[in-house]
Structure formats: structure tokens, C-alpha cells
């Protein structure tokens, strides 16, 4: 086993491809925001483009990833789970980062950019609270003011993360409009940004929103996929896994993972697993790739769950992080081009995946990546042939979900 040890240097691959024109990934992407925000987005795009090619910036970012976030994260070979499923399963362990999810990779980069732009405050939206906690953490580290918008429903089901954010000095604003979940938190964060754009950076948490966010967040998350590709080759004698699987809400852990494989390894099959909620047939789910139609919401053209007029529908998922009716535009493009495919796992399958990984490997996943595990367990020997080698990104740890699952599962 040759996974890198903690404290190794973090290697950043060269910058990946930029979107075309005004933030386009095929027909998706763009910058559909009120005029007030246009100059800030243009500045952010210009600053990121320069910084991302600047050795000093990259060194500082890599240093934070190594010494603060605890990268590189290992790839863990899952012997008992592999035996159970008849596959060779490898996990990319983003659950082992500081703050417990991949979100930290993105916020450290954006905090550096915030400082570079001379702004002193960050705002963020959060669903499960992981991005909110990560943003509050980076804000504490950099001495920035921080306000996090969180749907009132999510404030309720993620009380631990709310408390953590407050402990870190952030203000948490419960959002009661609409469905009072992630979609509405994004709305309110954008409204607040319109009002405070001159002093405040919007630290968007996923590969979504107006250009340059989908591109920038993918680049700040690609360390996940680039590390995983090298680690897999070490473990697999130079070979790549046949399948690379990650859960998809907005899609940042999946996009970061896929970025390491999409161009380097054209034969690797990329699979995103969305929230199937109560089942696709019930209409209560969060499967924008699978059941969404093209639209323009939250600053981007992408796929969204909508009615026939274009009113956005509420998503349903057991996991707050996947409870979003849209998806990042690069996923929409990868899906349209057939380079990645998108599947779903229901609430029940996610819970089964949560328990399965705990029992077989002693790893308690967050409910979001538990969807990927649940899907894999269902499809082992079917869509994923017996004997296949599979990399799954474990985007976060499950502590935040313990109370919710305790209620659902009762006495074990």
C-alpha cells in the first residue's frame, strides 16, 4: 500500500481547460445575473485567471491544502466491501480533510482570492452545512467576516453544523422563503451579494452559478481527481480504475474527481449519482441530470427540475447536500456529450449504503456519498460487472448525519 502519508507536499496539476466564450460548457453555463453583479464577476474571473497561473498563489494554496486541510487524502482499498460486492473498490477519502469534506479545497482557494481582491467579508450558501462550516473555517483562518445563508429546514436537520459555524464566528441566517432549503439559500445569498458586492465576496460552494464559478470551483476541486488518478496508478500498477463514481448535488466533488480523469483517461467511465429521493416515479427527488430540463436559474444555463412554465420545483432528498433542483453546467455538458453518465439512488438506498460502508469498512460516510455507495451496492454485478475496479469519492464524513439517521434507524 503506497498511499501518501500526511504532510507530503500537495502536487497541483497544471490548470485545466477553461470554458469557452462567456463561461460556456457546450450550450450550458453563462452569466445570467443582475447588472449590479457583472463588474464583480468580471473582476473575479480576471483575478482567478491570473492567480491560477501564478506560482506564488499556487504555492500558498498548495501549502494550505497540505498543512491546514491535511492533504493529500489517501485512497483506501476496501477489502471487505470489495469481497461483498465482487468488485475492487477504492475510496478517495475526502472525509479525512480538515472540516470533514471536500468543501475545504474550494474555500481555501476562494479565501485567498478574497484577500487578493481586498475584500473583508465572505458570504456563502449551505445545504448540509459542510460548505458553510468550511467557509466559516476559512474566514476564521483569514480573519474575514462571514455570513452563511441556510434554509430553515436545513438549520433544523443540521443543528450540529449550525452550532459549529457559530463557534467559528460566522453569522448563520435561516432562509424561510420558498422550500427553505439549498435553492432558497442560494437566492438569498445572491440577493445579499447584490447589496454588499463592493466589500464582500460570494464564496459559492459548488460548480454552479454564474461564470466564473463553475470553472473556478472545478479547478479548486480538481486536486481530488488529480491526486486520485496518481494514487490509483500506484495501487493498480499503472492502470486506471474502470469506473469513477461520485455523488452529484450541485456537483463539486464529482466535477473535481472527474477533472482528474476526463481528459487523462478517456476509457474510464465516469458516473455521477444523484438523489433519487423517494423514487423517480414519485416526482419527489433531486435528480436534475436525470429528470431536469434546460433552463436559466441561479446565473447559469443548465438542467433544472421545473414545471412546464419554467417555475423551479422543490427537490426532495434525505441528504441536505443533494437537495437541490439544479446541477452544475459542466455536468450538463458531460451528460449531453455522453462523457459521463448520471444515475440515481433513493433515500433508502443511500441509507443502506451508509450502513454498508460502516459495517464493512469502519467508515461512516456522509449521506451524500452514501448515495454513490448505495448505487454501487445495487449495481454490482449488473451495471458494474463483477471483477471491475471502481474508485468512489467519499466526499465527506457522516458525523453530521448521525442524529438524523439515529431517528430514522432507531435501535440498532
Amino acid at each position: 500500500m503506497s498511499a501518501p502519508a500526511r504532510g507530503d507536499a500537495v502536487i497541483l496539476d497544471p490548470p485545466g481547460p477553461e470554458p469557452v466564450g462567456l463561461g460556456r460548457f457546450g450550450e450550458y453555463g453563462g452569466r445570467f445575473v443582475p447588472e449590479t453583479l457583472i463588474p464583480a464577476l468580471e473582476e473575479l474571473e480576471a483575478q482567478f485567471r491570473v492567480a491560477w497561473h501564478d506560482d506564488d498563489f499556487r504555492q500558498e494554496y498548495a501549502g494550505l491544502l497540505a498543512h491546514y486541510a491535511g492533504r493529500p487524502t489517501p485512497v483506501t482499498e476496501c477489502h471487505r466491501l470489495s469481497e461483498r460486492l465482487g468488485l475492487r473498490v477504492l475510496l478517495k477519502r475526502e472525509d479525512l480533510t480538515h472540516t470533514g469534506s471536500h468543501k475545504i479545497n474550494n474555500v481555501l482557494g476562494q479565501a485567498l482570492l478574497t484577500r487578493r481582491m481586498g475584500k473583508h467579508r465572505v458570504i456563502a450558501e449551505t445545504g448540509a452545512g459542510q460548505h458553510g462550516v468550511a467557509t466559516a473555517t476559512a474566514a476564521a483562518l483569514f480573519g474575514l467576516d462571514c455570513t452563511v445563508f441556510m434554509g430553515a429546514v436545513d438549520v433544523e436537520r443540521q443543528a450540529l453544523n449550525v452550532w459549529r459555524m457559530k463557534l467559528l464566528g460566522a453569522e448563520v441566517v435561516p432562509v424561510t422563503s420558498g422550500s427553505a432549503t439549498l435553492k432558497d439559500a442560494v437566492n438569498d445569498a445572491m440577493r445579499e451579494w447584490v447589496a454588499s458586492v463592493q466589500s464582500t465576496h460570494y464564496c459559492l460552494g459548488s460548480v454552479m452559478g454564474p461564470h466564473p464559478f463553475p470553472w473556478m470551483v472545478r479547478e479548486l476541486q480538481r486536486v481530488v481527481g488529480d491526486e486520485a488518478r496518481r494514487q490509483c496508478r500506484e495501487l493498480l500498477d499503472g492502470a486506471d480504475p474502470q469506473y469513477v463514481i461520485a455523488c452529484v448535488g450541485g456537483g463539486s466533488n464529482a466535477m473535481g474527481t472527474f477533472a482528474g480523469f476526463v481528459d487523462h483517461c478517456p476509457d474510464v467511465q465516469l458516473i455521477g449519482v444523484e438523489a433519487g429521493g423517494l423514487g423517480l416515479e414519485t416526482g419527489h427527488h433531486g435528480a436534475a441530470m436525470t429528470r431536469g430540463v434546460p433552463g436559466v436559474v441561479h446565473g447559469m444555463r443548465s438542467l433544472f427540475l421545473q414545471d412546464e412554465d419554467g417555475q423551479v420545483l422543490e427537490a426532495t432528498s434525505i441528504s441536505a447536500g443533494l437537495d437541490y433542483p439544479g446541477v452544475g453546467p459542466e455536468h450538463a455538458d458531460l451528460g449531453a456529450r455522453g462523457r459521463a453518465r448520471y444515475e440515481t439512488a433513493t433515500d433508502d438506498e443511500a441509507v443502506a449504503g451508509f450502513q454498508l460502508l460502516a459495517e464493512t469498512e469502519g467508515i461512516v460516510p456522509a449521506l451524500e456519498p452514501a448515495h454513490a455507495i448505495g448505487w454501487l451496492a445495487r449495481e454490482a454485478g449488473r451495471a458494474v460487472p463483477t471483477g471491475s475496479t471502481v474508485l468512489v469519492t467519499l466526499s465527506g464524513r457522516g458525523d453530521k448525519d448521525a442524529a438524523q439517521l439515529m431517528e430514522r434507524l432507531g435501535e440498532l
Partner: protein, 280 residues
């Protein structure tokens, strides 16, 4: 001016005959030439059974044009008042088509413009949206999440020009001078100056940025320049109109409608605004 308008030739705009403008801009230019400050109230379409009567009441009380909101589920440029009004209208069944069709029946001698978000336009299709507005006798459209660059890229601009839908563009306090000139040249009907950094909603006083916005617009263009967002009272309207051609008032009116006010309440509030502007 069927489809021949060129966004780059705007400096020549002030030398054109009035008939070269669409009905919205023609009316606003005429009223301005009469020495009148312009008043454009905003009404959420589909908000209550009598919402079209509210539109008529605004016209009767001295509006120079009327903005009709087509409610959207995720209005990111709107504060809590218009969010609530939009949600209430959606809950009782308002759709883009129903709002446009009902507006057609208003039969007022005041030009109308719809205000909505781009997703609804994209879903209807640019052509169908513009055709529907024309068929309903609606002169203009305001789409705050379709800024200049995307307006040109995505094909909306061609459709709007082809169907003579006057598309009003927004300018913000953060807009650079260079971009402001481009916005003023490309906007039709009027230019909507956002008076402050923020979303729609009432404020206790007029923002300092409003005066600066008005001055910048008047310097940049001959097109009617209206200030909106955060203009809530007759006094604020008069203050804002002193540095621009007029004002858009939305949330202050919609709040009255949400508080069970109907056409009568709307008429008396718009009349107050009218008097304040005329006295200024």
C-alpha cells in the same frame, strides 16, 4: 423601426423622429417634453382577482407607463415584498400566459411593460414570448437577469427587435462608464437606473447613490432615464426625480396590495406619488 435598429448607432438617437421609437419610449419622451416627471408603478401580475383593475387604477391616477410583474419562483433581484407577492400569485394559479392575456384586457391608454426573469422567457421561447407581448398590446419587457452580454449572445435581442418589443436594460451603481454607455445605447423604452446596491424593497430614505446614478444616466444618454429600487414614498420619488426623468415604484405599492389593499388603495397611493412629482 422594424428590425433595423443598430445598437451601435445610439448617439444618433436624439436626432431621430419620435415615431422611430416604440410606443413606450415615444410616450415617455412626449411626457418628458411636456415638462412632466415620469411615474412608472409596478404591479405583480396575477396578485388577486382584481389585479387588472389595479392596473387601470394606476393608469387613472396618472402613471405614465405601468410595469407588470410576471411572477417567478426564484426572483433573485427582488426583496421580500415582491417575493411574497410573486409566491401568492403563483399559488393562486398565475402563469406567464395568464398574466399576459389578462393584461391585454386592461385596455388602458398607458404603455405597459412586463418585468420577469429570463427562465420564463427561455421556456416560452424568445419568439413566442415576443409575439405574445405584441398580441397583448404590451410594449416592453424588463428582464433583470438577462444582462447586456447574454441578451446579445442568446438570440433574445434579435427576437425582441424583430417584434419591436422594447427591452429595458438596467444600469447599476457598479456599472462602469464604458458599459453604461453601451447599456444606454442598447436599451429601448427607457433606461432603468438601479438607485442603490441591493434588491427591490422599501427603504427609509433615498440612497445617496440614487443622485449619482441619475446624474450619470443623464450625462450618458438622451433616452428617458428612470430610477428604481428603494424608492418608497412620495417625498423619495420627488427627490429621485430631481436628478432623473422619473421613477419606478414597486414594493411600496405591492405592500399595500398584499395588505388587502385593492384598486382604490392603489389609485390613492399612485395619485400621491403623482402629486409629489408634479409639485417637485
Amino acid at each position: 423601426m422594424t428590425g433595423v435598429a443598430d445598437p451601435t448607432n445610439a448617439p444618433a438617437a436624439n436626432t431621430r423622429a419620435a415615431s422611430e421609437y416604440g410606443p413606450l419610449e415615444t410616450r415617455l419622451r412626449e411626457r418628458r417634453a411636456d415638462g412632466r416627471k415620469l411615474l412608472v408603478p409596478y404591479v405583480t401580475g396575477g396578485l388577486g382577482k382584481d389585479w387588472v383593475d389595479v392596473v387601470r387604477a394606476c393608469a387613472a391616477a396618472g402613471a405614465d407607463a405601468i410595469e407588470i410583474g410576471i411572477p417567478f419562483s426564484d426572483p433573485i433581484m427582488d426583496g421580500t415584498t415582491i417575493q411574497e407577492a410573486s409566491q401568492r400569485a403563483l399559488d393562486i394559479g398565475a402563469t406567464p400566459v395568464s398574466v399576459i392575456e389578462q393584461a391585454a384586457g386592461a385596455d388602458v391608454d398607458v404603455p405597459l411593460a412586463v418585468m420577469t426573469y429570463y427562465n420564463l422567457v427561455a421556456h416560452m421561447g424568445h419568439e413566442r414570448f415576443c409575439e405574445a407581448l405584441r398580441a397583448a398590446g404590451i410594449a416592453g419587457a424588463i428582464i433583470p437577469d438577462l444582462p447586456l452580454d447574454e441578451l446579445r449572445l442568446g438570440g433574445y435581442d434579435e427576437a425582441a427587435r424583430h417584434h419591436d418589443v422594447e427591452t429595458v436594460l438596467l444600469a447599476a451603481p457598479t456599472t462602469t462608464d464604458e458599459r453604461l454607455a453601451d447599456i444606454c445605447a442598447s436599451s429601448r423604452g427607457f433606461v432603468y437606473g438601479v438607485s442603490l446596491l441591493g434588491v427591490t424593497g422599501e427603504r427609509t430614505s433615498l440612497a445617496d447613490s440614487a443622485r449619482r446614478m441619475g446624474e450619470r444616466l443623464k450625462q450618458a444618454t438622451d433616452r428617458p432615464a428612470l430610477l428604481g429600487v428603494g424608492i418608497s414614498t412620495p417625498d423619495q420619488a420627488a427627490e429621485a426625480a430631481a436628478c432623473a426623468d422619473g421613477v419606478v415604484v414597486g414594493s411600496a405599492l405591492v405592500r399595500r396590495l398584499l395588505q388587502s389593499g385593492g384598486p382604490d388603495e392603489a389609485q390613492s397611493f399612485v395619485a400621491l406619488l403623482r402629486r409629489a412629482l408634479d409639485a417637485a
